[in-house]
């Protein structure tokens, strides 16, 4: 069967089980778009900016537990994907991004819309390819998907010169992928696991610290089981939210700069930390010297470079979180189930005291809407079952603190890179993957304007997303830093000159709702969630509300600024 490169591309994407891709056409990919129009079974969602395509693919991958795909043209189309790719790279999200390229004969000639995207994205992809022969195309695509999803997942870019996608060739199914230079370690070292079980038995003050790796390896069940078996309290990084049920009594809340008092204090005083799928980001550790100073640290990660990178650990385990935790559970059951399950009542009651002394709280008001209150109400009204995407800043932190995630893959945020403008396209991607779910983007008035054009994408594609804007007419997180550390010099953070978001929503053909008083919050949320189609809810919130607790940058995580 003779196929051209464009047809091979579509065939290979379908064979990976992907049903939706996100993209934007252009001269270099016009043949691919022609082939897309002449096929069934692969849905293409036309975004309004290429950055949106990559964020949408990122969230699609997370909500669907599969690989996300974006397709863009050469030059500016390709460079517009870089922020999205870098974000997915930081968060280890499996993506394959296809970029158009000028014909092979013109590469290097500074042709129209030519850019060395393989060179540009080398440091922010797991791997990337420039396809130089149509004979290798099918194999490269298969390898790209394999690399994206295996080991520590990540984005892979495939650059497709125009003549390659135009050329017809006899199609051959590519063989199995076997790379002599790439063999991720899934199975952990048994000896280390026995040590972990002994440590769990002996520990007086154990804590589990879960990260995005637990969600990526679909190990939430194992993690939850292990914690409950041995009565070990659990905290998580921003990326790990949902790995352990937020309604469980053993749940401590998030850790780090805006972590809960009891989570940060528990880490400060624990004698055993079992860290799974985390990379000890500086937003989590604060001052490294004072991070878990009295603890023996067990670190489980599939990526050896994550181990000993930021902090010294005593028991490093290279392996898949799911396989490793399952094996630890088996050993716990085999060795001494009772001895372990007795738990540490003193430690747990100390943690309860910390929780009671400084719970997550804010001062409710009858005059002005508190942003935390909006999220609390949203949590109630959606029964905690919605998929939440966020922008970046205060909105993201309040979402993390006040929406208690019971399930994995329900909190989708740009964790490592912290991309403002992530939430709206991410909501589109998540909803495309999970049409059965309510999907809400919790946004700030600053962030939402960074990819506002994607409202058109949602409306056009009948993708039903709900956007909650916590509108304080400030770049709130930077303003908060300026208040605390820069004598309230609000340099360039005042955003009083904002569009009317209700009218803006209507201009795009969406529904716009405004809420200005606390007693309307519930009603507006209810109306918004029950209105069909894309809805923008603009909540005028307390302008100078801050996120607490807060660990000043570089400080010890046990020294928090409290309300």
């Amino acid at each position: 069967m003779k196929l051209n490169g464009a047809q091979i591309l579509i065939k290979m994407i379908k064979s990976e089980g992907v049903d939706t891709i996100f993209g934007y056409p252009g001269g270099a990919v016009i043949d691919i778009y022609d082939a897309l129009a002449k096929q069934n079974g692969l849905r293409h969602i036309l975004v309004r900016h290429e950055q949106g395509a990559v964020h949408a693919a990122d969230a699609y991958a997370r909500a669907n537990r599969s690989v996300g795909v974006a397709l863009v043209t050469s030059g500016p189309g390709a460079t517009n994907t870089v922020t999205g790719i870098a974000s997915a790279h930081c968060d280890s999200i499996p993506l394959v991004v296809f970029t158009g390229q000028v014909p092979t004969g013109l590469i290097g000639n500074d042709a129209f819309q030519e850019v060395d995207i393989v060179g540009i994205t080398r440091p922010c992809t797991k791997h990337n390819y420039l396809v130089k022969s149509v004979d290798k195309l099918a194999f490269i695509i298969k390898e790209a998907f394999y690399l994206a999803r295996s080991g520590r997942p990540g984005p892979v870019l495939v650059d497709l010169p125009k003549d390659i996608v135009q050329t017809f060739v006899e199609f051959e199914e590519p063989g199995e992928i076997s790379l002599k230079s790439y063999k991720p370690t899934y199975k952990p070292n048994k000896k280390q696991l026995n040590k972990v079980v002994d440590l769990i038995r002996k520990a007086e003050r154990p804590v589990i610290f879960a990260g995005g790796g637990v969600i990526l390896s679909q190990a939430s069940e194992e993690l939850t089981r292990m914690a409950r078996m041995a009565n070990i309290p659990v905290t998580a990084s921003l990326m790990g939210l949902g790995a352990f049920p937020g309604s469980d009594p053993l749940w401590l809340g998030m850790l780090g700069m805006h972590g809960t008092y009891r989570a940060n204090m528990s880490i400060g005083h624990c004698d055993l930390m079992i860290a799974a799928g985390v990379r000890f980001d500086d937003r989590v550790t604060g001052n490294i010297e004072k991070f878990a100073p009295g603890a023996t640290i067990v670190q489980i990660d599939i990526d050896p470079t994550s181990i000993h990178k930021n902090i010294e650990v005593q028991i490093p385990i290279v392996g898949d979180c799911k396989a490793t935790l399952a094996e630890i559970i088996r050993l716990m059951e085999e060795k001494d189930p009772k001895g372990i399950a007795e738990g540490k009542p003193e430690w747990l009651s100390r943690i309860r005291e910390w929780g009671n002394a400084v719970p997550l709280k804010y001062e409710q008001s009858h005059d002005v809407i508190k942003p935390q209150y909006v999220i609390e109400k949203l949590y109630e009204l959606t029964r905690g079952e919605a998929i939440i995407t966020t922008e970046v800043g205060q909105n993201q932190m309040w979402a993390a603190q006040y929406y208690h995630f019971d399930q994995p893959n329900h909190f989708i945020t740009s964790g490592g890179l912290g991309v403002m403008g992530f939430g709206l396209p991410a909501a589109i991607g998540a909803k495309a993957a999970r049409p059965d779910k309510i999907v809400v983007d919790i946004a700030g008035d600053g962030s939402i304007q960074m990819n506002i054009q994607e409202l058109m994408t949602a409306v056009e594609s009948n993708i039903d997303v709900k956007i909650v804007i916590l509108n304080n007419r400030y770049l709130g997180m930077v303003r908060q830093w300026q208040e605390f550390f820069y004598e309230k010099v609000y340099s360039s953070t005042n955003m009083e000159n904002a569009p009317d978001f209700v009218k803006l929503a209507e201009a795009y053909g969406a529904t716009g709702l405004r809420c200005t008083s606390p007693d309307q919050v519930s009603a507006v949320l209810t109306q918004g969630l029950n209105t069909k189609g894309t809805v923008v809810m603009d909540f005028t919130v307390d302008r100078e509300e801050s996120v607490y607790p807060m660990v000043p940058s570089g400080g010890s995580i046990t020294e928090m600024l409290l309300v």
């Binding site: 060179g119 791997h127 420039l130 002599k180 230079s181 990526d303 050896p304 470079t305 000993h308 990178k309």
Partner: protein, 164 residues
């Protein structure tokens, strides 16, 4: 400040365009140093060997090795530093050869078992092959004669048979 050591890494990579740039980019992006670098093909088709010398703290070399290994095109990373290995570096040294110094230069060349590969009215070009110490030694002896210019390769190294 922790002590910095000199490390010799022998890295086998896929012989593909862009591999060197991936490695160089990794070093610059993460703030690692490259002291010297030498790349050439091996007996195996499509496989190249990179010999890299880097100076860093002991904990950093662990990150460097792991990060190198993480690159998809890197097949193996062999740290030769604490193993038995042979190491060579090639240099061409063009030195002033005034009539009264010629005999002394020839003596030095003889002692170091080097070769004169080019002769002019007022210069010799000397080929030196050996380890870094030998290079440093001959350069310090030739310096008083007036070194005009030097071209040098990075170090290349192979583990000894029993030193793998």
């Amino acid at each position: 400040m922790m002590k910095t050591n000199r490390y010799v890494l022998s890295i086998l990579v896929d012989d593909e365009p862009g591999v060197l740039s991936r490695i160089a980019g990794l070093f610059s992006g993460r703030g690692f140093n490259i002291d010297s670098l030498s790349v050439a093909s091996t007996a195996e088709p499509n496989v190249s060997r990179i010999t890299m010398v880097t100076k860093c703290e002991p904990q950093i070399i662990e990150q460097i090795k792991k990060q190198l290994h993480k690159l998809i095109n890197v097949i193996t990373v062999n740290d030769l530093t604490d193993k038995k290995y042979v190491q060579r570096q090639l240099a061409l040294i063009k030195v002033n050869a005034q009539p009264d110094k010629k005999a002394e230069i020839l003596r030095i060349v003889d002692i170091f078992r080097c070769k004169i590969v080019d002769v002019g009215l007022a210069h010799y070009t000397i080929e030196v092959s050996g380890d870094t110490e030998k290079h440093d030694a001959i350069i310090s002896l030739l310096k008083p004669m007036g070194i005009i210019e030097i071209a040098s390769t990075g170090a290349i190294a192979l583990a000894r048979e029993n030193g793998k």
